[in-house]
Amino acid sequence: MTGNLWIDILLCLCVLFIAASIFLVKNTFSAIVLFISLGLVVTFCWIRLNAIDVAIAEAAIGSGLTGAMLVAAWRKLSSDNSKNQHRKDKEKSE
């Protein structure tokens, strides 16, 4: 196998490892950060496959914009949980 193919095999292993660890971590914020990094590694895959337009769009939209939306939504959802927790603790103490 040529050297190019070893780079491709390594890239595919990176992709599969990051994708598997998205669902195996406990913290949701870590999962979102891993998803953003998956988008960037997949951008590398598109460059290897000679798809430059797709790579530019994936890096900006698929990884960047989707990641920003996910973090904003996580902030909204996790603040709901923590606010409820504080309210329950207050009621129990009263």
């Binding site: 430059i52 530019i56 914009l65 939306m69 909204k76």
Partner: protein
């Protein structure tokens, strides 16, 4: 209130893992055993590239060969914008002046002008090199997101001109379809001499429309749902 499971949860998990593994193995076998096919469509697309008016094959496919799909996609974007705008309009407009200049604002002051220039370059160079409307619009959307994170009041979505901007991509495409019908008597048949200019016209308005739609998607989650 107690929920009752009809079947064992563990058995369902094992069933799911088993079935998905079988599907994956079948897919891998199908990918390995696929026959070598001569790609007649690709040969056709690359041979007639001069008649499309652009020399980037991906732009030619997006806006000339499969222009109908892109037209439908602009309509889908308008539907998404209509579905998401109520979440942004619900928020009370409060004056968000930061007390001191935040760090995000100083980053934005450096990056936003550069990104606008790069977006314009990507839009222009899309006819011959990798680039085009989608890439330029993603850069502009990134600029708007950066400014919104720096608490700068960027776009007020209750104004009519913003709604006009959101639909400008679809309107430009409809105008090109109607005008090219009068010239060639066919549905989205662009004449080779004017095709480059018409494609650039559609891409110019589509860039603004898509970037504002993507920014609207982010803004509805960031500022909405209070």
């Amino acid at each position: 209130m107690q929920t009752y499971w009809l079947v064992n949860q563990r058995a369902i998990n094992i069933l799911i893992i088993g079935l998905v593994s079988v599907l994956t193995v079948l897919l891998i076998v199908a990918f390995i055993e696929q026959p070598v096919h001569d790609n007649a469509l690709r040969t056709l697309a690359l041979d007639n590239l001069e008649k499309t008016g652009v020399s980037n094959p991906v732009t030619a496919v997006l806006l000339n060969y499969r222009a109908y799909d892109t037209y439908m996609e602009f309509a889908v974007f308008l539907c998404v914008a209509v579905a998401v705008v109520p979440y942004v309009l619900d928020v009370q407009v409060s004056a968000q002046k930061p007390s001191s200049e935040s760090q995000v604002l100083s980053i934005a002051k450096v990056f936003v002008p550069l990104s606008i220039i790069m977006g314009g370059y990507l839009l222009w160079i899309g006819s011959s090199q990798p680039g085009g409307a989608f890439q330029a619009s993603s850069l502009l959307a990134g600029c708007l997101v950066l400014l919104s994170l720096a608490n700068v009041k960027t776009i007020d979505f209750s104004k009519v001109r913003i709604r006009l901007l959101l639909s400008s991509g679809l309107l430009a495409f409809v105008a090109v379809i109607i005008l090219s019908f009068f010239q060639t008597r066919g549905f989205i048949i662009l004449q080779p001499t004017f095709a480059g200019a018409l494609i650039l016209f559609v891409e110019f308005f589509a860039t603004f429309a898509i970037s504002v739609t993507l920014f609207l998607c982010f803004e509805s989650i960031h500022k909405g749902h209070l």
